[in-house]
Symmetry: C2
Subunit: 413 residues, 2 copies
């Protein structure tokens, strides 16, 4: 394979049918932002939308905005906007609360659906909150459930007749390994178990087909590849066939069939509405609504094609330009096995990442030794990949990562 | 008692030491806003703070803002700002999630602390979400707990040796009846029970002394009298003495002792931090932070004095000007028994309220027959009370409330 030159990448940008999407983001100068898998950048539509929701709806119309501006319907309306991005139908998704809170609702609800089985299968390397919440659910229910954690990526062999639920993150937050949604869901069902997917690191980055796979439940985050802003509310999905039987424990007034009838007893809403709990976060949801406009005319398959081309280029260029510096690829080389990020192990990963950030290449570090680079296809250019690798090479060549201030750990890494 | 004239109220405004606070709010022209007990108006500091958090922190500093701008500490820092408004100490309050979600955490945690008792005492007329959440907790624990609902305001006589927890809203959302925080808390403790207060309709409107009363737990909302914006995150309080033993089931990663160590097992944070769950809602919390500036130099006792003067005037004027129209006072006449709102029963309450809103007097209606008017002392003038009553008189005199479009119920009432 011939060496890649910067001109080759510039040519790929010229041929990129999605290149125009970068113009919909307000990106700061002087940064190559490879951390959209942690916090997406600001879509340009956001400030005007905030002016509208704060300056007019809140300031001017005050309490009347609940009716006049449809505040009450934001959770379901935003759910319906996210649905096509994850292979769900209208009425199967809501936006509400945080991913952790939504996991609590659905893990608990799932275990109640299959009371004769007592095991949740997940991965030891799952994002911590997923397993912490499962531990909380098990402890809270007090019925002797077990969280069976698999080391490595093969969860299918851990599914037996005791398993009520398989709960996995589709793309591993450290390695970027992509689970096969269809295959794992089918294996869970073959084993008589339910399937819950955490889409935090996949929604908005690649095609997800929940209904095609026959998945039962899903949760996900909107501040990564969906660019909803810091701490934006999360989403959850419940397959239509489960909605009538679903009982989730966070039975707040917004999940009631008639919240404003102020009835004494809880009576769950029909459909997905029963997964709601408290008053919706109107400002954050309005920002997310504006951010989702970016996806209006985008085919997820096209995004995936560009995403894989970006990560392919990054792996090739790191091998070509930085082969002698001790980086070890932690992400699958096979395109169909990885998400939209590339991770490298390096024993000096932490100070190296701090040096890169100081030079304007923003990735992040995950213990114990992972340098993580996200490649969001909505706004990254192929030349960004070249320029990022050039900085990495320069930081390693010069040895300037080896400074005490780069070794000092920050509170949030 | 001599009749009140508008001049008398204008004189009270001239003498009002808190009159300057109105200038800190951006109030729309042409409205008398008597619904700050449902959604507070926008403090003037909000747009600049949004520019900062969206335009600079999110847009420019992106992921680095977690460290650079202290995003991770917003839940505890905002809790410490609310603490003095409710008689709590620093380290006893956090801002997180919704009131309903926080109720779930604390109701569950409270029942676990007192496993030998199986009854929660509350009021049948409590705000619905409080009782719905209690029903959800009881259902999912599956240990035969009972929700004992008292009709009327005397809950003390319902406390017996089976009661684990008394869970009350301090100010009734319909009647405005104010519970005696100290007396009820003492009665709960005398009966061997724990005490949880819902401060949704009192925090920011009147002095609350949780620690003085010896309360155990509290929750509350920030979008009413604290003016945090629509759907702003809620707060919760745990008395210092319970924090080490507290186990709440929503064990998400933000409640972990070291969220960024990404440990396999959940290990709760020391202190109040263990009540956190998912990623904090940065935009909403930043808006709340700006809104709380209004309280910086305000003594809650002064606010209470003005609040009672406003509600006194309203009751007097309604009797004086609207005595013949069939309004029946639903709020206690004794000042020490009411919050910062006044409610009237009227068989045509719904269309009358719609007519008032059409004429720029914004209150709200609560089934079956309650017209509810909130008097937030931070920004209301005494002449507003006069002018509101003049509109009510005019609407009743003219009979113009009796129109089909006013009788048609909106989705959110």
């Amino acid at each position: 394979m011939p060496a890649l030159r910067r001109d080759d990448l510039a040519a790929m940008d010229r041929d990129d049918p999605l290149a125009y999407l970068r113009g919909q983001f307000d990106l700061p100068d002087g940064l190559i932002y490879l951390d959209g898998n942690s916090l997406g950048p600001m879509p340009k539509a956001v400030p005007a939308r905030l002016d509208e929701v704060v300056g007019r709806q809140w300031r001017q119309d005050l309490i009347q905005s609940w009716n006049r501006h449809g505040w009450m319907y934001l959770p379901t309306r935003l759910g319906d906007r996210i649905a096509p991005l994850i292979g769900a139908a209208a009425g199967e998704v809501v936006v509400a609360d945080s991913t952790s809170v939504n996991l609590f609702k659905l893990l608990t609800a799932a275990l109640r659906l299959y009371p004769d089985r007592r095991v949740i299968v997940s991965q030891a390397g799952n994002f911590p909150t997923d397993n912490y919440v499962a531990q909380g659910v098990i402890d809270f229910l007090g019925q002797g459930h077990e969280l069976r954690l698999v080391t490595g990526d093969d969860v299918i062999s851990a599914i037996d007749g005791d398993v009520a639920l398989v709960a996995l993150t589709q793309v591993d937050y450290r390695s970027g390994h992509l689970q096969d949604l269809g295959e794992v869901t089918a294996a869970a069902h073959d084993g008589g178990a339910l399937m819950l997917w955490d889409l935090c690191h996949s929604a908005g980055a690649l095609p997800v087909d929940l209904n095609g796979a026959g998945a039962d439940f899903a949760v996900g985050c909107t501040y990564k590849y969906l660019n909803g802003g810091p701490g934006a509310p999360a989403f959850l999905y419940v397959a239509r066939r489960w909605q009538d039987d679903l009982r989730q424990p966070l039975s707040g007034w917004l999940g009631h069939a008639e919240p404003f009838a102020f009835e004494a007893g809880y009576r769950p809403a029909e459909g997905i509405g029963r997964t709601l709990c408290g008053t919706p976060a109107i400002l954050s949801m309005s920002v997310l609504d504006a951010a989702l406009d970016v996806f209006d005319d985008v085919a997820m398959a096209d995004l995936r094609e560009k995403s894989l081309a970006l990560t392919d280029c990054f792996i090739r260029l790191m091998t070509q330009e930085c082969g002698g510096f001790g980086f070890e690829l932690a992400t699958p080389r096979q395109a169909e096995r990885r998400g939209s990020q590339v991770s490298w192990r390096h024993q000096n990963g932490y100070p190296i990442m701090q040096a890169l950030i100081a030079d304007g290449v923003i990735g992040d570090f995950r213990s114990p030794d992972i340098l993580r680079f996200g490649f969001a296809p909505l706004y990254l250019r192929f030349v960004d990949v070249w320029d990022a690798v050039a900085v990495i090479r320069e930081v390693m060549d010069s040895g300037r990562w080896d400074r005490p201030d780069f070794r000092r750990r920050a509170a949030v890494t």
